[in-house]
Subunit: 231 residues, 2 copies
């Protein structure tokens, strides 16, 4: 194993608390009271169906920024909130300003000493690059589904990442907090590292059901992952 | 201007002295005496014609790693040097292990505080990523002609870089030591910063002929570039 490719939303960054914080600030500046945690959850919930419309060919290739924006516009309408185009653009870019989990930067910094570390996210390149600057994520390179015009879990995304890095699939391990992503990576021939992120969807949620032998590595956070990998 | 895209070979790294060093080490380990500086210059001289064969459609899309290797095999043959496939692969990867100019890392680190900094090189993604790890180049992201399957100076490379970063062409400035690259970037609508690298082709060479008003910025090195840009 030579390189680690990281899923980002939920695995590296805590999208939910970050988006709730951005929505609360938006609400405060507009004198609006809403259930912002529910708004954030609905925004995120719209994401997989929107990508599926791209994956099954119903929509042409469309960046996550645009998918996020279309979902946001619908949610604002449904909540009876009027906002200008520039305000919507800025709020939509909340997804470029997500905070890392407390262990992410230190763990990545350790892992980078020993392995090549890249993103492998459905987020577009500009989103991932802006996020890395915002959050101090020390990627060796920024690889996105956008480069292959195939969203995960399409095999083209996993195989395309290995090919860009000039690695055989088995020399690359996907790190993710989502079993479905890892299962697709494994089917494409990549190694798999499952990282537990029990707070991704907020407190008190059931963890993913995972067989203890299903993935090559199971880690409690990026520090644990680095230790298990000798980094 | 929001982002700087850097040409790499010659602009960020001193390919010539690095390649001569690798060839000398190769020669020493094989008990071979050759004119290694001339060998390095011939290796580099084969690069533009090889890319042109891709650009004009004579060859299908081919990575720089493969172009470099084909040139190397011819040069070894011409020099009467026999080497195994693995040895040739390793020597070819000398292009992944190029040393930065003395001001490059410090200058990029300053520029990164204020701007998004990316590669925009004809080198493939794995070459650029490995080089960044080797040389400590602090890129925000790694963008290569490989992503567009168009080598510079094709306009697709410059415009594709701006598009991936979600920037208008004029929000992106190309930094390069080569007027031809800068002229193509300018024709595509990018800003231009010319950095003098008088030693790129070795000592005692004539500098490029450049009109003092031709480019937006002319800098003596990356420290000077950072100072001129307030970084």
């Amino acid at each position: 194993m030579k390189a680690l490719a990281f899923d980002v939303f939920g695995t590296v960054v805590d999208w939910r608390s970050s988006i709730i914080g951005e929505l609360e600030a938006f609400g405060e500046s507009h004198g609006l009271q809403r259930d912002w945690p529910a708004f954030a959850d609905n925004w995120r919930a719209g994401y997989a169906p929107a990508m599926d419309r791209v994956r099954n060919g119903e929509l042409p290739w469309t960046r996550i920024d645009e998918l996020h924006r279309a979902i946001l516009v619908d949610l604002l309408d449904a909540a009876g909130i009027r906002a200008g185009e520039t305000e919507i653009d800025d709020l939509n870019r909340a997804w470029h300003r997500l905070n890392p989990w407390p262990d992410s930067v230190a763990g990545l910094t350790r892992l980078k000493q020993r392995y090549l570390i890249t993103t492998l996210s459905n987020g577009n390149v500009s989103l991932l690059t802006n996020m890395a600057k915002y959050a101090g994520l020390p990627w060796d390179c920024v690889i996105s589904a956008e480069l292959f015009r195939h969203y995960k879990p399409d095999p083209e995304a996993y195989l395309g990442c290995a090919e860009l890095l000039d690695l055989a699939p088995e020399e690359l391990t996907l790190v993710a907090a989502h079993p479905s992503d890892l299962r697709a990576a494994r089917a494409a021939g990549l190694g798999t590292a499952y990282v537990l992120r029990p707070l991704e969807y907020g407190p008190g949620r059931e963890p993913h059901a995972v067989d203890s032998n299903e993935f090559d590595i199971v880690a409690t956070d990026f520090g644990d992952l680095a230790s298990q990998l000798g980094a």
